[in-house]
Amino acid sequence: MIKEIIAKDILRSFDSRFSLRCSIGLQSGQTHALLGPNGSGKSTLLRVLSLLERPQQGELIYRDEQKNYLNPFSDLALRRRVTLVNTRPVVFRESVLKNVTYGLRIRGIGKKECMERATMALRLVRLEHLKDQPAPLLSSGEKQRLSLARAIAIDPDVLMLDEPTVNLDPENTEIIEEAIKALHERGDRLILFVTHNLFQARKLADQVFFIHNGRIIEQNSRERFFSAPETELARRFLRGEIY
């Protein structure tokens, strides 16, 4: 089980206008929220931390009970212990069930176990009754739930979610939040999610990171961040003055 992710002075820049340059530490058993205005680098940081985008500089270390992974990007087995649920859910042109089992099939997991895990994941996001439907026919809320079910079925050590409930109605939002809570209650998973919804961060997160212009400005416990933020930028963000 992954115990810790440490990013030291990572740099990821796309052009002269924007660069992500930050350090961050994440612990297992915790749900972390990454907050920040639009274009502050939240999604980029998520892609780097989930081993999908290499930083141009800096160090990213994954640590489990046995060892430190100093070069995690070239380790497929390690990458398979991390799953990112993207903002825009892309479903494959096959049934809901096959979508959920995809991540398991590529790991060589047997058919029986695939079915058991997929059924459990679909039950958690309340899509079990649609398992034989073609996935492209689902509503956007159902697609987002399916996207989460695909990740849950894999049962990753690290789950990252990029705005998992953006543009969703309250019912779908609640189902997804309940599923994230259920994962958190398993106790040993490391969860990091990006959100613009402060209520959601307050409801789900143990730790909050506030990012602005590619820099982590503040890291605090949920209680402290929302009751007594330490930086002026975070206070202005919470007051809705920067977005």
């Binding site: 990458r79 799953t83 649920v85 494959f92 995809y102 991540g103 590529i106 894999i154």
Partner: protein, 232 residues
Amino acid sequence: MGFLIESTLKAVGIITSLDREFLSIVLLSLRVSGTAVIIATAAGILLAVCIYQMQSPVKRLLIPLLNTSMGLPPVVVGLFIYLLLSRSGPLGMLNLLYTPTAMIIAQCVLATPIIAGIAHASMISADPEIRFTALCLGASELQATLRVIRETRYSILSSVVAGLGRVIAEVGAVLIVGGNIAGYTRVMTTAIALEADRGDFILAIALGMILLLLSLCINAMLYIFQKRGAID
């Protein structure tokens, strides 16, 4: 006009009576073009995958090269294969010239760039998030590419059908490397050219009808695959 009607009726007679010479020409055409397309499909899709996954700057050179190869003139391909397989050529010792194998090679060279070009275009025009989603779920680079292929399968099937359409109606290359030997390397297109040249239009019309029917089937398949791809 009467001559045309009479010849057409006799041609229909050849088709319905399953004339032996007629049948052998049609079957050889299907065997040569079918084999060529099967090999070209494997090579074309492999080539498309390699170019799709390539990170090197050579890719910028390969794509226009591939697109140019899609329009290779069949006679030039025929001439090139002829020079390779002729007795004094580098592959002369294989004794393949004027054999169905030589015709398969020539048709493969014609179909592979078409299949590779269309398959590659389908893959790069697919939603980039498909690949990214597969990677997010733990796919290796190859597994993510296979997922993109699966998601664009109807467009890729269209490329195979387009390749078949190109080779089945082709005359220049097979004539040069096959030699149009009766009962051995004579296929529909070369037989039509020969029979028309000799003024014996009945067999030519019969073969022409089959060729048109095949073209119609190929285009119907292409239409179905493109429509299914568009719906998906």
